[in-house]
Subunit: 340 residues, 2 copies
């Protein structure tokens, strides 16, 4: 692996000149050409590690998400990568599995790498950001707020969105609506359950029955178990608000297995059901601004990396509720089609 010294020797210049050529400083055309020629001959590529060490700055952004297999997070990641690349940064993927220990481990690694910045979906309200804060590594929290509002955050309006999604079911004529949401202390899960409760209160004038709200893990099997629990109630719900796509998948799966489909039971999925596009008619699907969340987070982080020094900011992106089944119900009597 060639170094600037070898290039310099071959080009008949000093190492510093080689460095300057590769960093766009003022070098005479003649020497520039000579350096480029020598570099090509030696297949020279600047060593990024050495550069980082010397500059005390890296070109890597750490992206910490709970689950790389959830299309919601990959869409976010994709957006981040697009923007980061445009600014010359690479994206390092860190899968936390909602595990605070893994998260902490990744934070430690990111800080000792050290990365240019961190975009993270905090696994819980207890996430500790001391390490990056202390080392002055910029952090932006996305999708869930930063603990203590310590750093920039950009989130979707989960509460209002969930309330609107639940309202859809009331408007469709359902009256006893169950809620399946994620773990306690996970912000999105709390917010979405709260939105559901708000809508129930607005529609019925009373607090929702406690047994109608089930909290579980954000997984397909969590959705399955919760749905079974709701169906087993003495007075089961006639509709279900599922707080994310995996929960909705589990719910749909169990309901389909029990032969219960709309309009016999109402279902709304808060968050897109990806790729497959086919859901039975009558299932409402709301769109979460995953890409927009990623774009905003990346923008805010890049600003911080470039030195922006203002107090922690917080942005809330609206959740647009379509009132059509699955977004495109006109296609077919039996299926709605969800945008890819």
């Amino acid at each position: 692996m060639a170094t600037i010294y070898e290039v310099a020797k071959l080009a008949g210049v000093s190492p510093a000149t080689v460095s300057r050529v590769f960093n766009g400083m003022g070098v005479s055309e003649q020497k520039t050409l000579a350096v480029r020629e020598a570099a090509r001959e030696l297949r020279f590529t600047p060593n990024r590690t050495a550069r980082s060490l010397r500059r005390q700055a890296s070109e890597v952004i750490a992206m910490m998400i709970p689950d790389i297999e959830n299309p919601f997070f990959t869409a976010m990641t994709r957006a981040v990568e697009d923007l980061a690349r445009a600014d010359g940064y690479s994206v390092m993927l860190c899968n936390t599995d909602e595990d605070p220990e893994r998260e902490q481990e990744y934070l430690r690694a990111a800080v000792s790498d050290p990365v240019a910045g961190i975009i993270m979906v905090p696994s819980s309200k207890t996430a500790r950001l001391d390490l990056p804060l202390e080392r002055r590594v910029p952090v932006v929290c996305v999708h869930r707020r930063a603990p203590n509002g310590a750093v920039d955050s950009v989130v979707a309006d989960n509460r209002a969105g969930s309330a609107a999604a639940t309202r859809l079911l009331f408007e469709a004529g359902y009256s006893r609506i169950g809620c399946i949401s994620g773990p306690e202390l996970v912000e999105t899960a709390d917010e979405r359950a709260a939105g559901w409760a708000t809508a129930v209160r607005a529609a019925t004038g009373a607090d929702p029955a406690p047994e109608l709200s089930v909290r579980t893990t954000y997984t397909v099997s969590g959705g399955e178990q919760a749905t079974r629990a709701l169906l087993a109630l003495p007075e089961p719900p006639d509709a279900i608000f599922a707080a994310n796509n995996k929960l909705a998948s589990g719910a749909i799966r169990v309901l389909a297995g029990a032969g219960m489909m709309p309009p016999r039971i109402g279902i709304v999925s808060f968050g897109g059901l990806p790729l497959v596009l086919l859901v039975p008619a009558g299932i409402h699907v709301t769109h979460l601004p995953s890409r927009e969340l990623g774009l905003r987070a990346a923008t805010m982080l890049l600003e911080r990396i470039q030195g922006l020094d203002v107090p922690a900011r917080e942005e809330v992106l609206p959740v647009v509720i379509s009132d059509e089944d699955s977004g495109l119900s006109q296609l077919d009597g039996h299926f709605g089609v969800l945008d890819a």
Copy 2:
């Protein structure tokens, strides 16, 4: 950010001793304790950049995939990450978008970082691996073979799997089966189209009609257009073999829009349709060993990183074809359910 020098001073030892403590060399218990205490006090973390530069070795694996939003690739990536983490490596995600130029750019970056190794899904048979080969950075190709067999590869048996999947349609009574596959020169696309042709030949005793095979991009809209083209044929097919999940999604979308569903038309998707789990009955879905591909690739790469020096290896993983619609058709008369 504390350095070993500050830790050394505080602990009353030399920097070398601090280094030794953090690398598991022989240091007296007393000094070890002193160093650890000082390190904790200073919140010291070894700087990975400096370590990489000095050791000429990094702890990052570059994972280059065509599309982070395709669950097939994220499942692979997830498997890679699991294994890599266990060995102390982080995974850097590189999204190539099937674009050879971006791929090349990423290879250049990976080589100049420099990473410990590269796992890649080559975007085409023309991918150039000279850079990593020259710099002796280990590469493993996954899902698609390495160009020229230059490095280790692990792939699924796309040809046999596709033939078996196509046979499923013949066995279900369909006789004129169309094929929608990916771009020319993309190995999986070629192999799957070839598998389809083999099955057609075996079933009909003749070569398939050329107009029954459509090649397009591996996208939902590609699948849509191809399906429309097939339906517009003077003699349209009575069944469709879709060579990947995105193509199948597009096909299903168009067919559903035209009111054509099984059994009126046969459909098989080569590759899982993720998360949503609901596809109309009669749609066959085969399972690709995405996780296994990732695991094998990671294993092979880690071996190479550890210095294994044998000629390039090639592994072919079997594709298991389930003969049930969507894997779980027993659930419901109208829907099949696909495993998450």
